[in-house]
């Protein structure tokens, strides 16, 4: 058992535990916090896989920006009066059952034996070679230049979409303002 296994085990347990905690947490704010933990654990796994750059990005984008957004929205909407009962019959047991079945199926599909049989490629040497941000940059800006640019467009569209959606229609505003003005008089 190398240290790597120990670290992997710890991180794996942490990530699974935080994930479970997240989906079962009653309070959305708690959920967000568990999720930050989960993302952090995954980021550390990236480090373990020799991708410090991705790990950094993971922390910055996910645990940082995205989570802040989530938290912001959760706060904006306030505490939710979450009803405990489930009004779709059979939803809960089926959800759990399907989740388990899916996990089982996926694990079976991973076909453990075949992959464990060939650990050779994933050597320390490979890890170090591929871990370099320069190598990643080279691939990204040479082979995947066009998709990369398209992604930027996607982000722009996402931004515009968010703005449009968040913008209130003129008549909505008026409808909202009118009674207020009436009240002031």
């Amino acid at each position: 058992m190398s240290a790597q296994f120990v670290i992997f085990g710890l991180l794996a347990v942490t990530s699974v535990a935080t994930a479970l905690a997240m989906i079962f947490s009653r309070n959305a704010v708690h959920g967000v916090l568990f999720m930050v933990g989960n993302f952090a654990a995954v980021a550390l796994l990236y480090v373990l896989l020799g991708s410090p750059f991705l790990a950094a990005v993971q922390i910055l984008v996910y645990a940082g920006a995205i989570m802040v957004l989530f938290l912001f929205v959760v706060m904006l909407m306030g505490p939710e009066p979450a009803p405990l009962w489930e009004h779709i019959p059979g939803q809960r047991p089926l959800a759990l059952l399907f989740g388990l079945l899916l996990a089982a199926g996926l694990i079976a599909a991973v076909n453990v034996e075949e992959l464990t049989g060939v650990p050779g490629i994933m050597s320390q040497e490979v890890l170090e070679r591929l871990g370099q941000p320069t190598a990643l940059a080279q691939t990204l800006f040479e082979r995947y230049l066009l998709p990369f640019e398209v992604t930027s467009l996607l982000l722009l569209i996402g931004m515009i979409g968010a703005v449009v959606l968040a913008k209130r229609e003129k008549h909505e505003l008026q409808a909202e303002r009118a009674p207020r003005e009436g009240g002031a008089e």
Partner: protein
């Protein structure tokens, strides 16, 4: 000794399934959304692991793209949730079951 790739894959599978379960269980739209992020993360993990196993950078590049898409998705998705919340007064996905404004 390096942790075999299959371990990562199994972990990814478990995380993914948890995400799916979350989507199926939770009624709060934000929680559903977060569960989706969980699934994306699980996939990312598998990508990185396979990238190592196959000695190719493509997997990592994909992780990159997934993150970008996730960011865009979060921006639009959250805006949608806010819009729905504004019009329905709730973020419960089950409350939004009629196609009517």
């Amino acid at each position: 000794m390096i942790v075999p790739v299959s371990y990562y894959l199994v972990l990814g599978a478990i995380l993914f399934s948890i995400g799916v379960t979350g989507v199926l269980l939770r009624r709060n739209a934000i929680m559903v959304f977060m569960s989706i992020e969980l699934m994306l993360n699980a996939v990312n993990l598998s990508f990185v692991a396979m990238s190592r196993a196959l000695d190719s950078l493509d997997g990592q590049v994909f992780v990159f793209f997934v993150m970008t898409v996730a960011a865009a998705e979060v921006a639009v998705g959250l805006a949608l949730i806010v819009a729905i919340f504004r019009s329905l007064g709730s973020a419960d996905v089950d409350d939004a079951h009629v196609l009517k404004g």
